[in-house]
């Protein structure tokens, strides 16, 4: 078998990952959402890195090798916040990709989250979380696994999380990228999900709302055939609920890639 050709990572019709409209300063504030869905077997670190790299350096160089340098966005800083990974996890990964450390910041919301918030009412927890994020309507925020808050905050519903955290967070920036885990909904054939369980309903509601609110959905999943030596999984790019409602002049290019992640590098191929 010949080596398949490496492909560029493209999300929009102007051949970009993040279109210039989203990177340039706009007069009227716009708020957009990208959604990354993934599973335990195919975790999204490399994709998040590529998105951060695009925000900071101008292009996803880690995915398609060196290319003509695009103008980076000096106007604002990119914020990464994760409920599952510590600060260093992202610093280390991005340092390896030689992403300019001045272009991004990592918010640690993992450490002592429970100790700090265990007994507080949910509104207060969400308010305090929101305050950690800079209010810069030109900036990009990347948020990993916000659905964990449904578990961590007692009694929190998907609607509350959406209205009191996700939407206000979107208003704080121009582009919010949410990476969410959808393991719960896989393997329904062998292990059906109890859809009457109210917790399950909240998770379903939350992910569904995210899809409604997003322009583009990037889904990472392993192959149905299981583990393979030369393919890690597939990256499906499809239109989100807002794709037909976006004020952007570019449109989402739907695509399916196969990708191979080895050590710190990831390569994309067409399926």
């Amino acid at each position: 078998m010949t080596t398949p050709q490496r492909q560029d990572f493209i999300l929009f019709s102007d051949q970009s990952v993040i279109p210039t409209e989203l990177r340039a300063v706009s007069a009227e504030p716009q708020h957009h959402l990208f959604l990354v869905t993934s599973t335990m077997a195919t975790q999204p670190l490399w994709l998040i890195n590529a998105l951060v790299e695009t925000c900071v350096s101008g292009g996803p160089f880690s995915l398609n090798g060196p290319s003509a340098s695009l103008k980076s966005n000096p106007n604002s800083i990119t914020t990464i916040a994760s409920l599952v990974h510590e600060e260093n996890f992202y610093h280390n990964a991005l340092r390896k990709l030689k992403v300019n450390a001045n272009g991004y910041q990592v918010l640690d919301i993992l450490t002592n989250f429970i100790l700090k918030n265990n007994d507080k009412p949910s509104d207060k927890v969400l308010d305090e979380l929101l305050e950690l994020f800079p209010a810069d309507v030109q900036s990009t925020i990347i948020l990993e696994q916000p659905e964990l808050l449904l578990s961590l905050i007692r009694g929190l519903t998907a609607d509350e999380l959406n209205k009191k955290f996700i939407l206000p967070l979107m208003k704080k920036c121009k582009l919010l990228i949410v990476a969410s885990s959808i393991d719960l909904f896989q393997n329904n054939e062998n292990e059906p999900l109890d859809t009457n369980n109210s917790d399950v309903q909240e998770f379903t509601r939350f992910v569904t709302s995210l899809i409604y609110n997003s322009i583009v959905v990037m889904n990472l999943r392993s192959l149905d055939t299981g583990r393979s030596k030369d393919v890690t999984g597939s990256l499906m790019i499809s239109r989100g609920g807002q794709s037909t409602n976006s004020p952007l002049s570019v449109h989402v290019v739907e695509n399916e890639y196969l990708y191979l992640t080895q050590k710190d590098s990831t390569k994309l191929f067409y399926r």
């Binding site: 708020h31 519903t157 609607d159 379903t204 509601r205 889904n219 499809s238 037909t244 976006s246």
Partner: protein, 301 residues
């Protein structure tokens, strides 16, 4: 199904352009095909006519649509104040106004069930048309106890709406409807959804009390509406071409063979005919039959 006296496309167009008084237009959508193209189509249809006062009540949307005259971000002002705010922007029911008012709600899922019907009825008035979206795939938020016998939101809305646009995607050619449903359940969104062409199951409630249901194929790029023809069944039918070149054997049947085949009376058909109403097993002993008294399975009587 469809009434022959109406052209469904024209009726659909009239409804979209708000020519017929329709108090409450409901869009049922899903993540595979959201209602925005329908809303945009409404905006396109009315753009040529008299000026419209469009109020957008946003539970989900953050960016003010270009067509909206007023944009109300519910999360900013709180749900309790929404009705008051909208009322202040709309003419009173008794006033005589020339312009038409349209209220767009995105989406009704975010209104708790106990408030839902009062919210809708407080908005609808002779001058106001309500165009609201309801996501049919969003599980209903748990309601308080005491609403055991109250209809669920979907039933309630269907009951109240005067026009319903139940929006379905055109199924991508690579999938069948079961595969599509299964991928969506796993949140694997396939390619080819959320397009500008889609299928609408259009329910129109007439003043006469009749309710008409049409299936339409809507193209919001070309602005054409056609009756949806379900040709999936036709494809299932066996044609001689389908059997060509599959093997070196001749699998096809000629017209004559087919006719002969169709005339063969199948054994069970007689049993279905009318005079076979009372069934009985008739057994006549013949000389070659080997009847065994000892065998318990031999004799069914």
């Amino acid at each position: 199904m469809a009434s022959s006296s109406h052209n469904p496309s024209i009726l659909f167009k009239r409804t979209l352009s708000l020519a017929d008084p329709s108090g409450f237009m409901l869009c049922y959508d899903s993540i595979s095909q959201t209602s925005y193209p329908v809303i945009n189509e409404v905006m396109h249809s009315i753009s040529g006519s008299t000026d419209h006062n469009i109020t957008y009540i946003a539970f989900e949307t953050l960016n003010k649509p270009s067509f909206a005259t007023n944009f109300i971000d519910v999360n900013e002002i709180g749900f309790a104040k929404v009705i008051d705010r909208v009322q202040s922007l709309l003419p009173s029911a008794t006033a005589t106004v020339r312009s038409k008012n349209l209220v767009v709600v995105d989406s009704l899922n975010h209104i708790a069930l106990p408030h839902l019907s009062s919210f809708i009825s407080s908005l609808i008035s002779p001058h106001v048309t309500l165009l609201a979206t309801y996501h049919k795939d969003l599980p209903e938020a748990s309601t308080k106890v005491g609403f055991d016998n109250y209809p669920n939101a979907e039933t309630l809305l269907q009951f109240m709406a005067t026009s319903i646009f139940d929006i379905d995607p055109l199924i991508p050619s690579t999938l069948d409807s079961t595969e599509l449903r299964e991928s969506i359940e796993k949140f694997h969104i396939p390619r080819g959804l959320n397009r500008l062409q889609f299928k609408v199951n259009f329910t129109n409630r007439r003043r006469s009390g009749r309710s008409l249901l049409y299936e339409l194929l809507v193209d919001t790029v070309a602005h054409t509406y056609e009756v949806f023809e379900d040709n999936t069944n036709e494809n299932q039918e066996e044609t001689p071409e389908m059997l060509q070149d599959l093997t070196t054997f001749n699998l096809s049947t000629s017209a004559k063979q087919k006719e002969a085949k169709d005339q063969v009376a199948l054994p069970f058909l007689e049993a279905q005919s009318e005079f076979a109403g009372g069934t009985a097993i008739v057994y006549e002993y013949e000389k070659d039959d080997d009847y065994d008294e000892e065998d318990p399975y031999e004799d069914p009587f």
